[in-house]
């Protein structure tokens, strides 16, 4: 009775109308299987599962997933082939996400194939690959690289010829799936032993296929083959193919060429050829289709190594890049900043000053705020190359104007950048140039900016130290305590709360006490609430005695405040530090 129960129960649950119950029972399969033991799992559970493959897609998906983890329940790696019949069906169903999961499960199982299991796997693979329906054939394509990689040497030629048939399938989705697996397949080959003629033939045929969806994959597949075989092979066999992609009639293929230029150049190796690929790429920076220009522009940083080839090439690249600042599509201009800054480390300080800075300045004055924003967010890359002086001369006016931009999102990105500048430029510079600006931003009308600046100031205090904060920063911003707009008085308190962890206890005891006291009598309740919160932060820095004598009375008084919320926060503060 006990032995019959699990399978019978499962059978009942799987016939239930409610899909959730069916899903739950599938998710329980591991427990059921371990309860039944290996032998009964093999002889009863698996056959039952094989008969239950007519169900909703979600149930089949769950099943495909569970079967992928069934190795132990079925008796270990030598019995994994018993899972194949069910997975074979699941790899051939209509719904793609079920097939993908079945493929995933088979892939993970393949890590531990024994010889016998591999044999069964290869037989199954062939059945999938020669099925009359196209869905199993596309699944076979996804598994080809596994089959080929693990197959014994004498079985490989036949497998390859089946793959060739798949790569020439009449159904477009199969062809495409075959070509998609090409990259993974090449990744499993060793340099001296691959059937290179045939592999190359497949690549060349599919690279000229009429289907755009197939040709789209050709660039990365060619790069994969080139990476395997080396630069001499690439120059001899892959170069015309690759250069052809840059002139393809479909903009999507040209897009792929542009975005992968770095890898293309690295596999072609020789200077001469690199120059050829390069000139094709530079043409794409002026392609009629904006998407191609965006992809190519984003890939510019990959050109870094080629800048050192010779001066002529570097010059061509630079002038091509400069003209992008005038592109009619702002998406292209937006992609320029992060990409071109990547070149800074290759150009060195002089080169960057001469070539990158002008571009940077132009982009910072762009009419589209997305463009300006992209510059500011990526300035970090260029700051390490340029020195303090360059920065203070060129960038600072622009940074300041950004911090005063009417768009708040631009102001906030400038705000977040201030700590980096501070770190690079040092205390003197900050005090002279950026301190006033920071004070200004503390009274920005947008709350997010004030909060962001508070965080930035805490960060900067981390670089410059408590003494700086106590002697320079806090005195400077303390005037906000009697600003007539309550919002800025609150800002001061919130900023202080953030700075407290870095301050010294003496300072807190001596210098902060009077401003805090006066603000605790502020007419606006919200200000008094924030006083409570700041004092609560103090409690962690001060010794019990000083805290008790200085601040507890204050809090006790606020506990009797006319506003309920003030009472609450005062009580909370006292609770934190009894």
């Amino acid at each position: 009775m006990d032995k019959l129960a699990p399978v019978a129960l499962l059978m009942d649950e799987l016939k239930n109308d409610d899909i959730q119950l069916r899903l739950n029972s599938i998710r329980n399969l591991p427990r059921i299987a371990s309860g039944m033991g290996e032998e009964r799992t093999q002889q009863e559970l698996l056959p039952f599962i094989q008969d239950s493959l007519q169900d909703e897609d979600e149930v089949l998906f769950a099943l495909a997933e569970e079967l992928g983890k069934f190795t132990d329940f079925v008796g270990g790696p030598s019995f994994v082939h018993l899972l194949f019949p069910a997975l074979e069906v699941l790899a051939g169903v209509e719904e793609s996400f079920v097939r993908d999961k079945a493929i995933q499960s088979l892939t993970s199982l393949s890590a531990h194939f024994t010889d016998k299991v591999l044999d069964e796997f290869l037989k199954m693979w062939k059945r999938l690959a020669t099925s009359e329906w196209f869905q199993p054939r596309t699944s076979a394509c996804c598994l080809f690289h596994i089959a080929y990689n693990q197959a014994p040497l004498n079985a490989k030629p036949e497998l390859l010829s089946v793959y060739k048939a798949l790569a020439a399938d009449t159904v477009p989705m199969v062809k495409r799936s075959a070509f998609a697996d090409f990259k993974l397949f090449v990744g499993t080959l060793m340099k001296d032993t691959p059937p290179i003629t045939e592999v190359l033939a497949i690549l060349q045929t599919l690279s000229k296929d009429d289907l755009d969806t197939v040709r789209l994959l050709a660039v990365e597949n060619a790069v994969a083959l080139g990476t395997l075989m080396g630069t001499e092979f690439s120059n001899q066999h892959l170069k015309p193919l690759l250069l052809g992609f840059s002139a393809d009639k479909s903009w999507r293929v040209r897009y792929m060429f542009g975005s992968k230029i770095g890898e293309i150049i690295s596999i072609l190796g020789k200077n001469q050829v690199q120059a050829e690929a390069l000139s094709q790429f530079l043409r794409l920076l002026k392609d009629p289709e904006a998407e191609v220009r965006v992809a190519s522009t984003s890939a510019i940083s990959a050109l870094g190594p080629t800048l050192n080839l010779d001066a002529g090439i570097a010059k061509t690249i630079i002038s091509a890049i400069r003209s992008i600042t005038g592109d009619e599509s702002y998406h292209v201009r937006e992609a320029l900043a992060p990409s071109v800054f990547g070149l800074a480390s290759f150009l060195g300080k002089e080169g960057t000053t001469e070539h990158i800075l002008p571009i940077l300045s132009t982009l910072l004055k762009d009419e589209e705020q997305e463009v300006r924003h992209s510059v500011v967010s990526h300035l970090g890359k260029v700051v390490s190359i340029l020195g303090v002086e360059e920065l203070s001369q060129h960038l600072l006016p622009i940074i300041i104007s950004l911090a005063e931009d009417r768009q708040w999102r631009v102001r906030i990105s400038a705000t977040l950048y201030i700590p980096l500048l501070a770190q690079q430029l040092g205390v003197e510079f900050f005090n002279k140039q950026l301190l006033g600006l920071s004070h200004q931003l503390l009274t920005d009308c947008v709350a997010t900016i004030r909060a962001a600046l508070g965080k930035s100031l805490a960060e900067i205090t981390g670089f410059f130290g408590a003494e700086w904060a106590q002697q320079v920063l806090i005195p400077k911003i303390m005037d906000l305590s009697h600003h007539n707009n309550y919002l800025y008085r609150i800002t001061l308190l919130q900023t202080l709360a953030l700075l407290v962890p870095s301050l010294e206890p003496d300072f807190i005891e001596n210098s902060l006490i009077s401003p805090i006291f006066s603000m605790s009598k502020d007419p606006v309740a919200n200000v008094r609430i924030n006083v409570c919160k700041v004092v609560a932060a103090f409690s962690k820095k001060l010794s019990n005695r000083s805290y008790a004598s200085l601040y507890q009375p204050l809090l006790s008084e606020l506990q009797r405040d006319s506003d309920h919320d003030v009472q609450y926060f005062a009580t909370q503060a006292l609770l934190d530090h009894p």
């Binding site: 897609d57 477009p172 755009d212 969806t213 903009w251 009629p288 998407e291």
Partner: protein, 419 residues
């Protein structure tokens, strides 16, 4: 030498356009005999029911011709299966769309099925796509497993593509690559991936900046049968524009524009009758068919300034245009289609009439009439209009839908495709 109905289709498909034209123009088909084979639908002659809920709104054969899908105003879809050469049996029936209330515009979104397209590659279970004004759905018609006892074919929705259209969807078309399709409304065309319902790319947008200057809307679109990059859309100005997906991401600038100024009728109704109600690529991919109110035109893709044929079968309507305008019938959208061998074209008319014409032989027109309702015998019945029709892709079997009935006609000397 000359192309006839018996010429193997595979060979016809292999001909280039000039060779095809040379052989098509020379062929003289004997008068065709089409025989009524079967009717499906309500056809309740005694019913006084004025409701148009059960009226057919779209009709389509799949790529093998074994399945025929019919969509109705009430959101139902019926799938028929070709049991033998001449008979179609009911395979399954399902409610594709329900009517919805759009809160934003306070209007009802009808459940009427505007278009049905079959997925071009047949797996074990055929798949079809349907749409109403706003939502597109992909269904799988699951065939019963022979091992299973309870086996009725049933349709299950696989994907729902929503939110892509602000205006009413008028057509769907699958790409020959099997992975993408386009959906078209009055002003935009979107490109979708069959597997991804959460995103679409807009590839054509003719919406003017100022909607008050709107002059032209898109009426239909179609994908080329074999070139994965070409598609065409027809507009209310009687123009067809071909777009190339390879040219640019937004295909606002067509690569070709087909228009026929010389064929203009002139007069007060010129603009209204010029609007194209349907357009279709020929199966061999070299020609285009357009249906405007008074005629069908066959175009060679290489020639944009005039069609190779103007097939005028509605001349008798010209004196009636005033009445048709008053009754709004002048805005009726008639469908059109090609025969599987690209030699003939077909379109419907009023009174239950429909016309089968040789695409390349001027004048060779066969008129047929659907089994007429007794009560309307003798009158000019504008309510009995054969708007929806389709031709079996491999055999000379046609299906026509008018009001709530669908009809199947078979060519008398029907020969199955030998390819």
């Amino acid at each position: 030498l000359f192309l006839t109905k018996n010429t193997p289709r595979a060979w016809i498909m292999s001909l280039g356009p000039d060779e095809f034209l040379a052989r098509a123009n020379g062929s003289h088909e004997s008068t065709q005999q089409w025989e009524f084979s079967q009717m499906f639908g309500e056809d309740d002659e005694t019913s006084q029911d004025e409701s148009t809920d059960n009226w057919i709104s779209s009709l389509s054969f799949d790529s093998t011709g074994a399945y025929l899908a019919v969509g109705y105003n009430c959101g139902q879809v019926v799938v028929l299966y070709q049991e033998d050469e001449h008979t179609y049996q009911l395979c399954c029936e399902f409610k594709s769309h329900n009517s919805e209330f759009d809160c934003l515009t306070s209007t009802e979104i009808e459940e009427k099925i505007n278009a049905i397209e079959w997925y071009p590659f047949s797996g074990k279970n055929p798949q079809l796509m349907t749409c109403n004004d706003k939502t597109i759905k992909l269904f799988r018609v699951a065939m019963p497993n022979s091992d299973h006892d309870s086996g009725f074919p049933n349709a299950r929705p696989r994907r729902v593509f929503q939110g892509g259209h602000a205006f009413n969807i008028n057509s769907l078309a699958f790409n020959s690559d099997g992975e993408t399709f386009i959906s078209t409304d009055d002003l935009t065309i979107n490109l979708w991936n069959v597997e991804i319902a959460s995103e679409a790319f807009n590839i054509v947008n003719i919406k003017p900046d100022n909607m008050e200057t709107l002059q032209e809307v898109i009426t239909r679109s179609d994908f080329h049968p074999t070139s994965c990059n070409l598609f065409v859309y027809a507009t209310s100005k009687g123009i067809m524009r071909m777009g190339d997906l390879r040219d640019s991401s937004l295909c606002d600038r067509p690569c070709k524009e087909f228009s026929d100024p010389a064929g203009a009728m002139g007069g007060f109704f010129e603009e209204l009758v010029a609007t194209i109600s349907d357009c279709k690529f020929s199966p061999n991919g070299h020609f285009l068919l357009s249906r405007d109110y008074l005629s069908m035109k066959v175009w060679d893709l290489r020639k944009v300034n005039e069609p190779v044929q103007r097939i005028k079968f509605h001349e008798h309507l010209i004196p009636k245009l005033c009445d048709l305008y008053e009754s709004d019938n002048i805005f009726d959208k008639f469908g059109c289609c090609w025969s599987g061998n690209s030699l003939q074209v077909m379109s419907g008319s009023y009174n239950g009439d429909f016309y089968i014409c040789d695409a390349f032989q001027p004048g060779n027109i066969t008129q047929l009439t659907l089994k007429a309702n007794d009560s309307t015998w003798g009158q000019f019945d504008t309510s009995n209009k054969a708007l929806h029709l389709d031709w079996h892709p491999k055999q000379d079997i046609i299906s026509v839908g008018a009001k709530d009935c669908g009809y199947i006609y078979v060519r008398k000397d029907n020969v199955e495709d030998e390819s």
